[in-house]
């Protein structure tokens, strides 16, 4: 099978591309995936975020040749996954959420046979298996059967197995859901290493923390549609007044509190100011510390210095600073009016 010219040219540009993708399952009144389009750059970590049933798994199912789309097109490594599924499979690998390891084979042989399916020569198979088993902390379990391993180890084995044929794009479904914190960090570290090596990662998750930690860009899906695609920080930053900056100072000592509030309100990016210890009308006991909360557009941290300056002009010095940053969860709620789960 040869690579069509057009596809070969595309390979150098994008790792994953989805155009107007539609999937409607038989006997379903609605589209599971409803005309979505996006592209993932080579070496990028791309997160598909959304609640269960949003269409993430179906989208990845199409990209990994396991779901036939109703309309639109999808490419992995420049290969049309609908027209050339066999070629596409050599360019991608899948790490599912639930173990699908071959239980008749040892852990090492799971890696070895996977590579054999993909045509990696015998000596190279063995060499890569040794390297990956070491790297994923599996060397002493290499000869056990998958029946006797923990969830975290299963996840690591499946990632190691997926890497045996050096795929261009690795699809991971909820890579750290259900893992204990240590196992989770281990998996995240390995994924960071993969990103550093230039492997394109596409992960589906409903865990905002995971998406924010791992993804360069996040696409938020709901009801089969893409609501928004951007960097996690940009998504969070776009929320109006979701970030907060809480400042505490010593007692105002007769300084008019409302004048202080006006000064803070005048800072760029501040949407609203409220005094939380003193009354907003300034009638509080002047012996108490002053504590104010600024509602900020964009990020709160850059405002700390200007706010400190404004306070200094009123003879006050900062005693405490607390940053309240919104999460991707807030972005999702903002977009849909619902919580993620």
């Amino acid at each position: 099978m040869s690579v069509p010219q057009e596809s070969a040219a595309r390979t150098s540009m994008v790792a994953v591309e989805v155009r107007e993708l539609v999937k409607r399952y038989p006997r379903s009144p609605v589209n599971a995936v409803d005309a979505i389009s996006f592209a993932v750059e080579p070496g990028e970590v791309f997160g598909l975020l959304g609640p269960n049933g949003a269409g993430k798994t179906t989208t990845v199912g199409v990209l990994t040749t396991r779901v036939r789309p109703t309309g639109g097109s999808a490419f992995v490594g420049g290969v049309d996954v609908v027209r050339e599924p066999v070629l596409a499979r050599s360019r991608l690998a899948v790490v599912p959420q639930r173990s699908n390891l071959d239980r008749s084979l040892t852990i090492r042989n799971n890696l070895i046979f996977h590579a054999a399916y993909h045509g990696v020569p015998a000596a190279e198979r063995s060499r890569r298996a040794d390297v990956l088993l070491e790297q994923f902390g599996l060397r002493d379990r290499a000869d056990s059967k998958p029946d006797f391993i923990s969830g975290g180890q299963g996840q690591r084995i499946m990632i190691a197995r997926a890497l045996m044929h050096e795929p261009e794009v690795l699809f991971l479904d909820e890579p750290s859901t259900g893992l204990d914190p240590a196992a989770r960090l281990f998996v995240w570290d390995r994924l960071h290493e993969l990103r550093d090596r230039g492997v394109t990662l596409v992960l589906t998750t409903h865990d905002m923390h995971e998406a924010a930690e791992l993804a360069d860009r996040v696409a938020i899906m709901d009801h089969g549609q893409l609501l928004v695609i951007d960097k996690p920080r940009a998504l969070v930053g776009s929320l109006p007044g979701a970030a907060t900056l809480e400042l505490a100072t010593g007692p105002p000592d007769g300084q008019p509190v409302d004048a202080i509030l006006v000064a803070l309100q005048a800072l760029p990016g501040v949407e609203a100011v409220e005094s939380i210890r003193h009354g907003a009308d300034g009638n509080g006991d002047s012996q108490d510390e002053l504590r104010v909360r600024l509602y900020v557009t964009g990020e709160a941290a850059p405002l700390v210095a200007p706010a400190a300056g404004a306070l200094a002009e009123h003879g006050l010095s900062l005693a405490d600073v607390k940053l309240g940053s919104p999460s991707l969860e807030d972005v999702f709620i903002h977009l849909t009016g619902r919580a993620l789960r």
């Binding site: 399952y25 179906t58 396991r66 050599s90 690998a93 390891l101 071959d102 046979f113």
Partner: protein, 264 residues
Amino acid sequence: MSAVAAPRQTEAGAFRAVLRRDLYVTWSELPVFLAQVILQPFFLLFVFGKVLGSLGYTRSGYADLLFPGLLALTAVITSMQTLAFPLVIEFGWTKEIEDRLLAPMRTGLVAVEKVVFASLRALLATTIMIPIGIVVLGSIPWRWSGFPLLVAAIVLASLLGSGIGLALGTLVPPNRINVVFSLVFTPLLFTGCSQYPWPSLARLRWFQVITAGNPMTYASETMRAALVPSVPHIAPWICLLALPGAILVLTAIGIRGFYRRAVD
């Protein structure tokens, strides 16, 4: 990103690798495999061929017409079991098959590999029945002139069992597997003419009609044509048309079912 070379794996290569995996697993569990496939035909042979004969409940020639039928039974049952049970479990629960479905080969070839592998296991099990028959019965009917037909019969019976297994394994929902298997398995076992030659059923006309609908009947009868031609049997040319026909239909149904299971 590194330049991507042409695909290094051919579909034939992927097919061989998946087959090698199955053979490797069989080899590493060889005693279990042999016990699993030999036990049932062995006991049928022992009780019906040896015990009942020794006690005088069956006529002297019965073991000779039972033995070819048990070869057919072993071939059909072995390939069917090899294929159907694991397939249902792999698709339904363990999802183990997914790694092979993502191998760089057409989905249908994964199903074909299952058929080839199950048939190889059936060939092995049936071949082993020959020395077992000699040990249990003392002697077995044997004609070198019937040998080519015997080989053809064993191969076709093995493929037939694979076809039945593939169709069952992909069409039956996982939660029904126990019910369906007992509903299919036992009738298949006893209506396939392995314990009696088909023409002799003329006295039980309704049962003869039923057995004519079981493709295993034609496998049993081909074995008899090869080993004990003096016993009245269905003409081999009929069997050699019926068996490939049944194999084609069942395998086609199975591959369609396999696609439905593998691709949404």
